[in-house]
């Protein structure tokens, strides 16, 4: 990429490189200090906030794990996110397939509806959703929350999947029809396997906000056994307000699952989360 690269060591290129390094420090330093602080006592944090701990003791983590029920919160987050994702992926793959591959009577109307669904701010639906879940007997139920999240993720899922299905060659479908495949076989055996990478994009795009949400669980789930990580973290912060070491440990624990997955799959995450804004 010779054409792109700046002439080596112009002041401008040095400035840009400096900016990148500075930005990386600004991003990583707080996270690093948080993790380090999780190994310190409150006294140590006050005495020398940026120093390494005198000993790498896991006391704070042990305390948090036993007191904070983080195992429960993590499990709940997994249940809710996974449940919603299964529904989102299945339904939006199916609907995206129909909208991307067929022309039919209400095609335009349905597609418009999906696009409008993208614009609805979910937070403003808090009260009616609450009343509705109550009427359906789905309050304080993980299943109810899963359905709400699924509905919230479907517009984006259908939108993304429609685009990808539309881009698949017509001939493939024709070949399958001539080969004798029925509608379901064409969908499940020919088309669906081709959009697997795109399904991953939809999954990441829709799962991260669900995993990170705290408003809906706070309002819709009242049982302490059902709390998800963000909500659980909030409870934990309330209970241990001045135990800085424990708070940092709680924070580290709460962030850990997603950060680990991100470290493994950062490319997919970046692609997935910017899918709505960046085509492809």
């Amino acid at each position: 990429m010779i054409t792109r690269a700046l002439k080596a060591h112009t002041p401008f290129s040095m400035l840009l490189m400096g900016l990148l390094i500075l930005n990386t420090v600004v991003v990583l330093a707080p996270l690093g200090v948080a993790v380090i602080s999780a190994f310190k006592t409150t006294g140590e944090i006050m005495a020398s906030p940026f120093a390494l701990p005198s000993a790498w003791a896991f006391d704070n983590f042990v305390k948090v794990w036993s007191a904070g029920r983080f195992d429960r919160y993590i499990l709940n987050s997994i249940i809710v996110t996974l449940g919603a994702e299964i529904i989102i992926l299945v339904t939006s793959a199916m609907a995206g397939y129909a909208l991307g591959r067929f022309k039919f009577r209400f095609h335009g109307a349905i597609y418009t509806l999906i696009l409008m669904g993208l614009m609805v701010p979910a937070k403003l639906l808090l009260v009616p959703l609450f009343i509705q879940l109550k009427a359906m007997g789905l309050l304080n139920s993980q299943f109810g929350l899963i359905l709400v999240y699924a509905a919230g993720g479907i517009p984006a899922g259908v939108f993304i999947m429609t685009g990808f299905f539309r881009a698949l060659p017509d001939a493939l479908e024709g070949a399958a029809r001539i080969d004798g495949a029925g509608e379901w076989t064409i969908f499940s055996r020919i088309m669906l396997p081709l959009v697997r990478p795109q399904l991953a994009i939809v999954a990441i795009y829709t799962a991260i906000p669900i995993w990170n949400d705290f408003l809906f669980p706070m309002v819709f789930l009242s049982s302490p056994e059902l709390k998800t990580i963000p909500q659980g973290l909030s409870v934990f912060f309330g209970e241990h307000a001045v135990d800085m070491g424990a708070l940092f440990a709680g924070l580290t624990l709460a962030a850990l699952p997603l950060v680990l997955v991100y470290l493994l799959l950062s490319e997919q995450f970046i692609k997935g989360l910017t899918a709505g804004a960046v085509k492809g």
Binding site: F130, L139, N140, M218, V235, E239, V242
Partner: protein, 418 residues
């Protein structure tokens, strides 16, 4: 015949099943609260209660800022716990008026006779028919005062406590000059600011007489005395600790308990917490010094909150029985001895000397904690306007006069003034 036999068999089975659930071990009561600090106490109570009756009670505290949301959402959703740790006055009335609470009577909670009518007033609904019922068993009365750290004062060379408000302010100035924080209170925690007002204000606006007058609509919040009460409270900003804008309730307690400030304006519920934070802390509690040495030193007090029963509970009997236990003198004794708060139960005198000391003051010059007792029933809410307003004055966003006017306008939308 066959069908009838089958049906009756099923009926018997169902009865047996429900009977089994109603009895003994199978009853489990859930109990929600915002009292994160008291979890150990309530767990102990639950353990002993289970040993005695076989009824298991699970105590779950929530972060205090989220508890109202979680609770009102759960109740509105037809769920929620069996036993509800509820506030008093407006906060309770709102939920009671919505029909979420089971009315408590001499029949289902015989121990209800253990409370004074004045305290039970904080456990009633506001609108008919709910205003005729009692929905909670009060658990504590609280008084507001000034904590003082004896060791800090001694090390600053101060031997006697101030006798007048001017002396108090002069003392604060002295401490400030010596680089010692006078107050540990922060201005980040707005309920704490309202409590500061509860400590300082009554001496300026004239305590109970003013309370009765605004309740009756004879006086307005624009009254110069009330304006001055606000101004005096906000003027404390000069004596707040470093970074007071960021200091909340937890930090204020920590600062005071660790001897990093001389005084702390707060309520009696904090005695135990301060000792927990620092077992060696040597402190006392007093009422705000009067304007003149022989003047009245008012102490704001209030019924702290109530134990209520969810109207939708599946175990109404067991829940009422448990609440009845929470209304017993035996429990009251344990409550006040362990948590160092004044039990709401008549005849249960506190053993904690600090409670006794402030309690004597309160019995002479007690006055209702103005906004909490009188003006939390509707929006805009008196407490919210007052506390947010004091914070705004401290941060330079408004003036006492403007705040008084705002409160008057706001409350006039739902309270009658002459």
């Amino acid at each position: 015949m066959k069908i009838r036999n089958l049906l009756s068999a099923a009926g018997i089975a169902a009865m047996a099943l429900s009977a089994g659930q109603a009895f003994a071990q199978s009853v489990e009561l859930s109990f929600w609260s915002w009292r994160v600090e008291d979890k150990a106490f309530y767990d102990d109570i639950a353990k002993d209660y289970a040993a005695k009756t076989g009824v298991k009670v699970t105590f779950t505290p929530y972060k205090n800022t989220e508890y109202p949301t979680v609770l009102s959402a759960a109740l509105a959703g037809g769920g929620g716990p069996d036993i509800i740790h509820a506030r008093a006055y407006g906060a309770l009335a709102t939920l009671a008026d919505a029909g979420y609470f089971l009315p408590l009577t001499k029949e289902n909670v015989p121990n209800i006779v253990n409370f004074s009518d004045q305290l039970l007033a904080g456990a009633k609904g506001r609108t008919p028919p709910h205003n005729a019922n009692i929905y909670g068993v009060p658990f504590a009365t609280q008084a507001l005062g000034i904590y003082y750290n004896k060791s800090v004062l001694k090390s600053a060379g101060i031997e006697t406590l101030p006798k007048t408000w001017d002396e108090f302010k002069a003392l604060c100035k002295t401490l400030k000059d010596k680089n010692i924080a006078c107050l540990s209170n922060g201005s980040n925690d707005v309920p704490g600011l309202e409590q500061m007002f509860g400590v300082i204000g009554p001496n300026f606006y004239g305590g109970t007489a003013f309370f009765n007058d605004v309740i009756a609509g004879k006086k307005k919040f624009t009254d110069p005395a009330f304006v001055q009460a606000i101004a005096e409270t906000a003027a404390m900003k000069d004596f707040l600790p470093r970074n007071h804008q960021g200091v909340g309730e937890n930090e204020a307690r920590t600062l005071f308990a660790n001897g990093l400030a001389a005084f702390y304006m707060s309520g009696t519920w904090n005695i135990d917490t301060i000792r927990t934070l620092n077992a060696k802390a040597d402190f006392g509690i007093m009422a705000a010094p009067p304007l003149k040495a022989d003047g009245a030193a008012y102490v704001s007090n209030f019924a702290d909150g109530n134990y209520a029963v969810n109207a939708k509970t599946k175990h109404a009997k067991a829940a009422a029985d448990f609440v009845n236990y929470l209304a017993s003198k035996e429990y009251g004794r344990r409550f006040t001895d362990t948590l160092k708060q004044s039990s709401a139960i008549t005849g249960v005198a506190p053993s904690e000397p600090l409670l006794v000391a402030l309690g004597e003051q309160a019995s002479k010059n007690g006055t209702p904690f103005l906004m909490l007792v009188g003006f939390r029933y509707q929006n805009p809410n008196g407490s919210v306007m007052l506390r947010d307003g004091i914070q705004k004055i401290i941060q330079g966003g408004t003036t006492p006069e403007a705040l008084a006017q705002e409160i008057q306008t706001g409350i006039a939308t739902w309270h009658k003034f002459q």
